[in-house]
């Protein structure tokens, strides 16, 4: 796999489409365990991202990702803003100066992104957060990478959050009541990676 500036733009557009059409669904998930704003926040934030990067002229993948990061930080709101914003900023920094990005450097970029999110949210695997999707997904970026694996892994990981008890984020105030509901951040992360798989597949 190889990512170019245009792929980042396609990736963000596809993510935005998924978030817009699942806005109410994400909101209903967040009403069950959080403060009910995840759908609206993500839809608003990624709409702003697309406005910002569509048609813009970027030299490198890193430059495009940096604009994504800054827009998410200031426009998403909630906990998702600083978390996704930090993730994309770390990814951007890690890929600095590269014209095109292969799966090996993308994988280490995602690792940096995950580490940044863990630090920002003081969270780890198994706490019913988006970390539970990002962590297994990163492992699929091997030499034998294929987009179907990526989607399958992200989906399984997302579904696993249903039986977890939240120990981080607003849902942690609910204790055992958080069990039996999908984590909204894991669902939005699934859309992000599903869109990435589709982008990569289209480029082959």
């Amino acid at each position: 796999m190889e990512l170019h500036v245009q792929d980042v733009i396609t990736w963000m557009n596809k993510t935005n489409e998924r978030l817009q059409s699942n806005k109410e669904y994400l909101t209903s998930l967040d009403q069950a365990v959080g403060d009910g704003d995840h759908g609206i926040n993500m839809a608003r934030g990624f709409n702003e991202v697309v406005q910002k990067i569509d048609g813009a002229d970027y030299e490198t993948v890193s430059d495009a990702l940096k604009d994504v990061a800054m827009t998410l930080m200031s426009k998403v709101g909630g906990a998702a803003g600083p978390l996704y914003g930090t993730a994309f900023l770390k990814l951007s920094t890690s890929l600095k100066g590269k014209d095109s990005v292969d799966q090996e450097s993308f994988k280490s970029g995602l690792e940096e992104a995950l580490a940044g999110m863990k630090q920002r949210g003081k969270s780890d695997e198994g706490e019913k957060t988006l970390v539970d999707v990002w962590s297994p997904v990163i492992e699929t970026f091997t030499n034998s990478f294929n987009p179907e694996d990526l989607v399958q892994t992200a989906q399984t990981a997302m579904e696993k959050t249903k039986d977890m008890k939240a120990t981080k984020g607003r849902a942690s105030y609910l204790g055992d009541r958080s069990i039996g509901h999908l984590d909204p951040g894991s669902v939005s992360s699934f859309y992000l990676f599903e869109s990435l798989a589709e982008t990569v597949k289209g480029g082959e």
């Binding site: 403060d35 704003d37 930080m73 200031s74 709101g77 600083p82 978390l83 914003g85 920002r120 607003r170």
Partner: protein, 125 residues
């Protein structure tokens, strides 16, 4: 030395406005700036609001930030990392009680670390 500036972050503008009213009774000469709610005035927190509150509250003695729930802390951290100042601390303190103690200590001319420590011990003894 000027007194340490204080920034209060809450998901709700009304929460920090109410706290500021309470603080004004004990220390009205301390810079207390508010970052309540989102840019649109809804429930949530905003990095831009936090940044501008830091800029307004900043003195030679620095700024202490006190926040309410989860994302407020993450946005506070981002704002601090992006700030040009390096004398900003985030207190792990209850918003109302911490702010109250911090305002009193700041008005007595205490240093940033003393004000932070006092705020973080607001509920102890």
């Amino acid at each position: 030395m000027k007194s340490v500036g204080i920034v209060l972050i809450s998901h709700s503008p009304k929460v920090v406005e109410g706290i500021k009213d309470i603080l004004n009774q004990v220390a009205n000469d301390v810079p207390v700036e508010l970052a309540g709610g989102t840019d649109q005035g809804g429930i949530g927190t905003s990095i831009e609001k936090i940044q501008s509150a830091i800029d307004r509250a900043h003195t030679d003695s620095g700024v202490l930030i006190i926040y309410d729930l989860g994302s407020a802390m993450m946005n506070a951290e981002v704002a601090v990392e992006m700030s040009e100042f390096d004398d900003i601390e985030i207190a792990n303190a209850p918003l109302l009680e911490g702010a109250y103690v911090a305002a009193v200590e700041s008005s007595m001319g205490k240093s940033l670390s003393e004000v932070q420590q006092a705020a973080e011990q607001a509920l102890i003894d």
